[in-house]
């Protein structure tokens, strides 16, 4: 009774619960929250309390004293720490309803990796319910990404979407509101960062943190040779001398570092094309592949995929928010009951 009443004061939310970032889209208001999926936990003896969530917690990542631990509760697109995820969602949902004086109890749509297991789906659902959601709907990420990118998903023609997130890359071929083929590789922004860290350690004998690696990737990262050469100054701890040292990296080096992860993505895109039914493959060959997710912002990735597959590759507008926006659109269709792509149990 009270849940329903509180629901009247809550907005419907579409949540892209990503490994790296969590985005919330509110019907009629657009993207209202875009924060890193990080929670800082303070340990006071046996008691644990949340010290910070989101951007504030991310700044703490790798810089915390002994009694605070900054955690990323999602790994590879699925929940790694159930309780912390619930706390994080609770915080974000409350933040979206900041001016409400009643505890919100919204209807929530959450995007899940297409290859997630029943157990993982249940975990996400229960997390959202624990965070106060009145009703929880799940949608497969590539479907949301395709809707958000504006692909004609309801038509009887194949659309291929490659959503490169923080933890996973989702590849899907969609036609008539359904997923014809889906694959999920556990390669994404995080793997890129790891590759950069490994490269720097091997070639410069220096240790850099996750945040630095991410900055390198965003500023000079590139996926295709022959693009404009960029440089960046970074500081890391020299392993031999034990003191911080400064050195310069260029985009060619980063390309070399990312080679292996990129090859995996290219390989799975190719195998998706191989396995798609011929009619849909011809649709895709005519129009092209659409890239979404933060990974699509990696310079030259569209070019790489285009050259490797021989198909046009397009980066969707505002690729970071595609999934959340698509979820929002799907949520608007929930009431119409004509959607085949939502899971409500």
């Amino acid at each position: 009774m009270f849940k329903r009443l509180r629901g009247l004061f809550s907005s419907d939310l579409s949540i892209d619960l990503g490994t790296a970032n969590t985005l919330i889209y509110v019907r009629g208001r657009g993207i209202v929250l875009n924060e890193p999926s990080v929670v800082a936990i303070r340990n006071q003896g046996a008691q644990k309390s949340v010290a910070a969530v989101g951007a504030e917690a991310k700044r703490m990542l790798g810089r915390t004293p002994g009694n605070i631990t900054a955690i990323r509760p999602l790994k590879d697109g699925v929940i790694a720490d159930f309780i912390v995820t619930e706390k994080m969602l609770q915080h974000f949902i409350a933040k979206v309803h900041e001016n409400s004086f009643i505890t919100p109890s919204p209807r929530v749509l959450i995007c899940i990796p297409s290859k997630s297991t029943q157990v993982e789906r249940k975990a996400i659902r229960e997390s959202a319910e624990g965070a106060g959601a009145r009703e929880v709907y799940l949608i497969e990420e590539p479907m949301a990404a395709a809707i958000g990118a504006g692909l004609p998903v309801e038509e009887a023609s194949g659309s291929m979407v490659v959503d490169i997130g923080g933890g996973t890359t989702e590849i899907a071929i969609i036609s008539l509101n359904g997923i014809v083929y889906a694959d999920s590789v556990r390669v994404g922004g995080d793997k890129f960062d790891e590759a950069i860290i490994t490269y720097v350690r091997r070639n410069y004998g220096s240790l850099i943190g996750d945040a630095t690696a991410e900055r390198i990737k965003q500023e000079i990262g590139c996926a295709y040779e022959g693009l404009e050469l960029r440089e960046i100054d970074v500081r890391g701890r020299n392993l031999a001398e034990g003191v911080p040292r400064s050195f310069t990296l260029n985009s060619e080096e980063i390309l070399e570092a990312l080679q292996e992860s990129l090859a995996q993505i290219v390989q799975s895109v190719k195998s998706a094309l191989e396995q798609s039914p011929p009619e849909l493959a011809s649709d895709i060959a005519e129009r092209g592949i659409v890239l979404t997710g933060g990974g699509a912002l990696l310079r030259g990735l569209d070019k790489l995929l285009s050259e490797e597959t021989g198909l046009p590759v397009i980066v969707a507008e505002d690729p970071l928010t595609c999934v959340a926006r698509g979820g929002g659109k799907a949520l608007e269709l929930v009431d119409k009951k004509s959607t085949g792509f939502l899971f409500s149990d």
């Binding site: 009774m1 009247l8 004061f9 019907r27 009629g28 990118a149 504006g150 692909l151 004609p152 005519e286 129009r287 092209g288 659409v290 569209d302 285009s306 021989g310 198909l311 046009p312 590759v313 397009i314 980066v315 969707a316 507008e317 608007e332």
Partner: protein
């Protein structure tokens, strides 16, 4: 918008995006076929882009993607081109403004919501006030003349020591009683004089109107809304928990059944179709049912739904508290 091309006027009487791309391509000495090969787009689409024939292209997403790729191939800055393309598309009415009706609907919903809030808050406040005035009047009977401050009707009989009803609730009920001949479409205003007219009716008559439901139609909408709000308030505010549990189990098939009350009363055994088990005692009830499909269980006349509990292989074992029963 077209700040990157300052020599061109602001509106899109400027060269269309397709023409600009074609001119740039020709300047670079490329053929349309070469562009198509480099971008891996089919030739037909390149020509459609250059002729601004957007209907021949698969969709806005693809159009923008192609234009971006095309511009990058010719080393043009894609952003101003895309901005102009947007203007061009919106002039053609391709970009639908899907936000507008949505926000309208949202506003309507919000309005309704606030109305609802006001009613609920009013009802809760009223219930609270009613409780308070009830306490007051039972405490000191002679001060009742000045106690209800909201009583404004001049014809109101003075001392009503036992009267615990608030004026507006009274008003609505009096209206219900005193307007048996009111037309169904009676306005709220017309109900107001009736309140005054009937204000001298004896207190004993101001009881909940059970047998007069047809008259309710005659009452204005406001009174009905108030009445439902009161019901809700009553549900929320005064939820009386039953003290004694009265369990009735009717069997339709063979079934093992074990029920125990909080004060140790127990009925246990294997029952067959047609048996009826009655048990009364204190909460909580501990119940074990061997075959949930064969039993209809009612506690204090409230049917118990087994699906709320864990049912395994048709067997259910659960505890039922008074709170759980009421919430059912």
């Amino acid at each position: 918008m077209s700040k990157h091309t300052p020599d061109m006027p602001e509106d899109v009487s400027v060269t269309p995006v397709g023409v600009r791309l074609r001119q740039a391509r020709e300047a670079a000495g490329l053929t349309a076929r070469q562009v198509a090969d480099r971008l891996h787009i089919i030739l037909r689409f390149v020509e459609a882009i250059e002729q601004d024939d957007h209907d021949a292209l698969p969709g806005t997403v693809f159009l923008k993607g192609y234009v971006r790729g095309y511009a990058e191939l010719l080393s043009l800055d894609p952003e101003p081109l895309l901005a102009d393309l947007d203007t061009q598309l919106s002039m053609q009415g391709k970009v639908t403004t899907e936000q507008q009706p949505q926000s309208d609907r949202a506003r309507m919903r919000r309005k309704g919501l606030w109305m609802f809030v006001l009613i609920v808050v009013g009802a809760i406040g009223f219930a609270f006030w009613q409780g308070q005035s009830g306490q007051e009047s039972s405490g000191e009977a002679e001060s009742a003349v000045q106690a209800p401050p909201a009583v404004t009707e001049p014809g109101q009989p003075g001392a009503r020591s036992g009267d615990v009803m608030a004026p507006d609730q009274k008003a609505s009920q009096e209206t219900m009683q005193s307007k048996p001949d009111t037309q169904p479409d009676a306005e709220v205003e017309s109900a107001v004089p009736a309140v005054e007219a009937s204000a001298e009716e004896p207190v004993a008559d101001l009881q909940p109107v059970q047998g007069e439901t047809p008259n309710r139609q005659g009452v204005g909408e406001a009174a009905q809304v108030e009445a439902t709000a009161q019901d809700e308030a009553a549900d929320e505010a005064i939820q009386v928990l039953p003290v004694e549990a009265q369990l009735v189990a009717v069997f339709e098939d063979r079934c093992w059944f074990d029920a125990r009350t909080g004060d140790g009363q127990r009925e246990v055994g294997l029952f067959k179709a047609g048996d009826v088990v009655r048990l009364s005692g204190a909460f909580p009830l501990s119940v074990i049912v061997g075959n949930v499909e064969a039993v209809t269980l009612r506690v204090n006349d409230i049917p118990v739904d087994f699906s709320r509990f864990r049912v395994r292989n048709k067997r259910a074992e659960f505890q039922l508290t008074a709170e759980a029963l009421v919430s059912e």
